[in-house]
């Protein structure tokens, strides 16, 4: 393996690694704009120039590959390459490049959404000059819509071309291109082919400056006011890793979080903007019990007691319905209450899309079908006829949520039950048919694990605080379980539920949040 020396430190690296990759992996900061690990290397921003001994010019570290050299060409008799990232030449060159990049930049950080997470800002502070020598007029262009949800502020653009390469290489849709030449070049779309694919939102994520903006977030808040919670998208069975940005009890935006085993660096717009559909819903925040045609708010004790009474009334004809929208833990606990959990309502599906880069949007628009099937001993295919054959009269349903639309057939089946208990966060079609509604958490409030369709267990973390009287789903289920059978083990935290689940299901053996971590882990290979 080639031996590389960077700023006096030795690194043994795989042949074919770039200097920039070595530096990034070892905590040596080399500023860069046009380089993105998922995109083709263009080496055009010139920000990552470093000095390589023996080369007459400074080299772009993103495109300088380390390889074995013959013994007579080794530096000091042993190094295949010697690189300086901090010497005077490089430090001065960074200042020069930043000066060029800022010539026509409006320096409108106070009104720019990128401020606080802007590489132009960060690098200018770290590596740039304190003042500008530019006395001419700046290039000024109006903002333009590139697609229905992406605006470009041309004045801030540094022409790194990451967005162009994204649409060429990742989405394969090639809407974006560079128009004109040199000083006049700018990112553009054709009128009849706007940037409206389902991955469009990513260009705002990867833009290193404040040029590409999502209309969904523009001028809404400042990034330093927001809490950033790493979590997992719950809008399809791929389970893209995301960061959820929120302030108090409001989610402002979702961005993709890197996970090379799941989503790479990207996410789709279904997931990105999906959180808005929880904003204007008929939220259930207190336990409710049916009284005639309407509901009456009750306290938790009454609600749990009522639930237990309804189940006990006809225990042999009571069953649970699990949900692919709920966590492994919630589904597991329901299975503990009803040994014969029947299954789930018909799947909620959409169009399956696979992009040329391999990025995928699954047809299964629920996050945890795989986990639900793993955790439940028996999930029947035809739930409706099973209910009829077994003569079920009482149902405890984990509600799929606001995406679940009940057709007449299911309205009839559920409406004809003696008792229906629904654990939900909103007054859904299903909750409206219930006798008891237990207020749980909405998708981005939940905590637990989910398993994506490739068998990767991932950690769902609550991004918003608990609302009013609602309780975590696992806690509600545990309360019901304890009330039904006083002898059963009482869990005080979710970790204990996971432990128990791990003991029961081999694939989930030894599962802890620590083990799942922020990148998750795969159960593939362990499944018999």
């Amino acid at each position: 393996m080639p031996l590389l020396k960077v700023d006096g430190k030795e690194f043994e690296v795989e042949s074919g690694t770039t200097v920039l990759q070595v530096a990034e992996a070892n905590g040596i900061e080399i500023p860069h704009y046009c380089y993105h690990p998922a995109l083709e290397i263009v080496g055009s921003c010139r920000m990552c120039l470093v000095q390589v001994e023996g080369m007459p010019k400074l080299q772009v570290s993103c495109n300088t590959f380390v390889s074995d050299v013959s013994s007579d060409r080794k530096v000091d008799g042993k190094y295949d390459m010697v690189v300086h990232t901090q010497n005077d030449l490089v430090v001065q060159e960074r200042k020069n490049i930043l000066e060029f990049l800022l010539l026509n930049h409006p320096l409108d950080c106070p009104v720019c959404d990128q401020a606080g997470e802007c590489y132009l800002q960060d690098y200018s502070f770290k590596f740039g000059n304190a003042h500008s020598r530019f006395e001419e007029n700046k290039r000024v262009r109006p903002n333009e819509f590139l697609g229905s949800q992406i605006v470009i502020n041309h004045n801030r653009c540094i022409m790194c071309s990451q967005c162009v390469r994204f649409t060429q290489e990742i989405s394969g849709t090639s809407e974006l291109f560079v128009e004109a030449r040199g000083y006049n070049s700018k990112i553009a779309v054709l009128e009849d082919n706007p940037l409206d694919n389902l991955l469009a939102g990513n260009v705002a994520d990867i833009c290193p400056v404040g040029a590409l903006l999502s209309t969904d977030y523009i001028h809404k808040n400042r990034i330093w006011n927001l809490k950033k919670q790493p979590s997992v998208c719950q809008d399809c069975s791929v389970g893209c890793n995301v960061d959820v940005f929120s302030q108090t009890d409001q989610i402002l935006r979702l961005t993709a979080r890197e996970n090379l085993d799941v989503n790479g660096y990207f996410m789709c717009d279904i997931g990105r903007y999906g959180f808005h559909r929880y904003e204007e819903i008929d939220r259930v925040l207190q336990p409710m019990v049916r009284k005639g045609d309407s509901f009456e708010s009750v306290d938790w004790e009454t609600a749990i007691q009522k639930t237990v009474d309804l189940i006990k009334k006809n225990k042999s004809k009571a069953a649970g319905i699990v949900s692919p929208f709920h966590t492994n833990e919630s589904n597991f606990l329901l299975g503990q209450i009803f040994k014969d959990v029947l299954g789930s309502l018909p799947p909620i599906t959409g169009e399956e899309i696979t992009y040329p880069s391999g990025f995928r949007i699954s047809a299964d628009r629920s996050p945890n079908t795989r986990g639900m099937n793993d955790i439940c001993d028996r999930v029947v295919e035809d739930l409706a006829s099973e209910i009829e054959t077994q003569g079920i009269r009482t149902l405890f349903i984990l509600d799929d949520g606001i995406d679940r639309k009940l057709d007449d057939k299911w309205k009839k089946i559920i409406g004809e039950m003696d008792s229906v208990i629904v654990l939900s966060y909103a007054m859904t079609d299903l909750a409206k048919l219930a006798h008891v509604v237990l207020p749980g958490h909405a998708p981005l409030e939940r905590e637990g694990t989910v398993t994506n369709d490739k068998g990767r267990i991932q950690w769902l973390r609550p991004s918003l605080p608990v609302k009013v009287e609602s309780k975590p789903d696992w806690e509600i289920l545990m309360l019901v379980r304890n009330a039904l059978d006083k002898k059963t083990e009482h869990f005080v935290e979710l970790g204990e539920v996971m432990k128990k689940m791990g003991e029961k299901f081999e694939n989930y053996g030894g599962i802890t949040f620590f083990k799942v971590g922020d990148q998750g882990y795969s159960i593939n290979g362990k499944i018999s």
Binding site: S44, R46, V60, F100, N104, E135, E136, R181, G182
Partner: protein, 432 residues
């Protein structure tokens, strides 16, 4: 020197010199016949031995370039004839295409045969419409006479030639920019390595040669490498087309041996400067070369090495003459404006820096200059194209040499005619 007989342009004033019958009557395509019986490697060796260096601007050894083609590659190989002549002050390839297209075509077939290529392209500058139409005829003639196509001249070698017209960008004359353009993409030069000889057109081994370079090949084959090497300096020999333009009585293309004196070229061949004005400065190799002052120009021989020693380059041999009436600041702005217009915009220093130069020079000319501006001009040129220290190699900062191509001339203007730049500064500010 007067004994030198033109090689490439010997017959250009003859009637119908562009036609196949004429070219055959002067011994055309005999080199091709000879080549088709030779081992391709021997041709490459012959060209290497001739010390032929590229006529497009960079002056790289042609034979050595061919030698980089991987022998073990099973990919198709491509030869591209770079006819995107767009360096300001250069108009020699146009002449060759107009007057001796078959000579160029013969050179192409020889080069293609030597590197094992079966599809070759002529990337012709979009503005050369007349030449494009003519070359179409030339190629049709060649196909009709079994000079192109299957089994050329009864051999088992086949070659197709395709003409591709550029869309009007200077940068597409840079070989990797040309390749991108030929592939139908934006003409943005590529990072090197890999060099085109390894991965060029469609990721296959590709050789890009200039029109004049290719036109030399039939003569090298017919008369031998040692004949070629005997013309002019040994390290960069051969006949060369010098384009003289600007303030001269008789501008035009002059074929002379390499190493001809610049003084002779300007005052003898090109008829000197009108109205007996004084010479002020000269671009010796197109607008990308550093200018020479009159003193420097008077004793310089036009040869690759000597011009590098003088801090300039022979480039495309486009000689632009400026007499005493030329305002050097205006001329500098003119050059800077050209480069700002032609910068492809890929690399930051070139995209932003070239137009900054234009804005500063414009401001200076408009009388709004400030005392520090002239030093700043030098700093900006260095930031675009790197310090020009030929003893240490150039310190370019961009993907392609465009950055240097703007930095060299602009820096030379400012350094060598600083007084004229100072005169544009408002007087009270200079005093202050």
């Amino acid at each position: 020197m007067n004994t030198f007989k033109p090689v490439l342009t010997e017959y250009i004033d003859q009637k119908d010199c562009h036609t196949l019958p004429f070219y055959k009557s002067i011994g055309g395509y005999t080199a091709l016949e000879k080549v088709l019986t030779m081992n391709p490697d021997d041709i490459t060796q012959e060209v290497k031995d001739s010390n032929l260096r590229g006529r497009g601007g960079a002056g790289f050894s042609t034979g050595m370039k061919w030698g980089f083609i991987p022998k073990d590659s099973n990919k198709p190989k491509y030869l591209i004839n770079n006819a995107d002549e767009s360096e300001p002050g250069t108009f020699k390839d146009r002449l060759l295409m107009n007057k001796a297209p078959h000579q160029m075509l013969e050179g192409m077939i020889i080069a293609a045969y030597a590197i094992g290529c079966h599809t070759s392209f002529i990337y012709i500058r979009g503005e050369f419409y007349q030449e494009y139409k003519l070359l179409e005829q030339t190629i049709a003639e060649a196909y009709d006479n079994n000079i192109l196509g299957q089994n050329i001249l009864g051999s088992n070698y086949s070659l197709d030639v395709v003409i591709h017209r550029g869309a009007g960008a200077y940068i597409c004359g840079e070989e990797t920019g040309l390749l991108e353009s030929l592939e139908g993409k934006r003409g943005w030069p590529r990072n090197k390595p890999p060099f085109p000889a390894i991965e060029g057109y469609l990721q296959s081994p590709t050789i890009v040669n200039n029109v004049e370079t290719l036109s030399c090949l039939p003569h090298i084959i017919n008369r031998g490498a040692s004949w070629f090497k005997s013309i002019g300096p040994e390290k960069g020999p051969g006949p060369r087309l010098f384009c003289v333009s600007g303030c001269v009585n008789n501008p035009g293309v002059f074929e002379e041996p390499m190493g001809v004196s610049l003084k002779d070229l300007i005052f003898d061949r090109a008829g000197g400067i009108p109205d007996d004005k004084q010479l002020k400065a000269v671009f010796p190799g197109g607008s990308s070369s550093a200018i020479l002052t009159a003193n420097e120009a008077m004793d310089v021989m036009l040869d690759f090495e000597e011009l590098v020693e003088k801090g300039s380059m022979l480039g495309s041999a486009g000689i632009i003459v400026m007499d005493e009436t030329v305002d050097m600041v205006q001329a500098c702005l003119n050059i800077a404006r050209f480069y700002a217009h032609e910068s492809c915009g890929q690399c930051t220093p070139c995209r932003e820096g070239t137009s900054w130069l234009v804005m500063m020079l414009t401001r200076l000319i408009n009388g709004d200059g400030k005392p520090g501006d002239i030093d700043m001009l030098l700093e900006i040129t260095d930031n675009i194209g790197g310090l020009i220290d030929f003893s240490k190699g150039s310190f370019g900062k961009t993907i392609c040499p465009f950055g240097e191509a703007v930095a060299w001339p602009v820096r030379s203007f400012v350094e060598k005619f600083k007084g004229e730049f100072m005169e544009y500064l408002p007087q009270e500010k200079v005093v202050a």
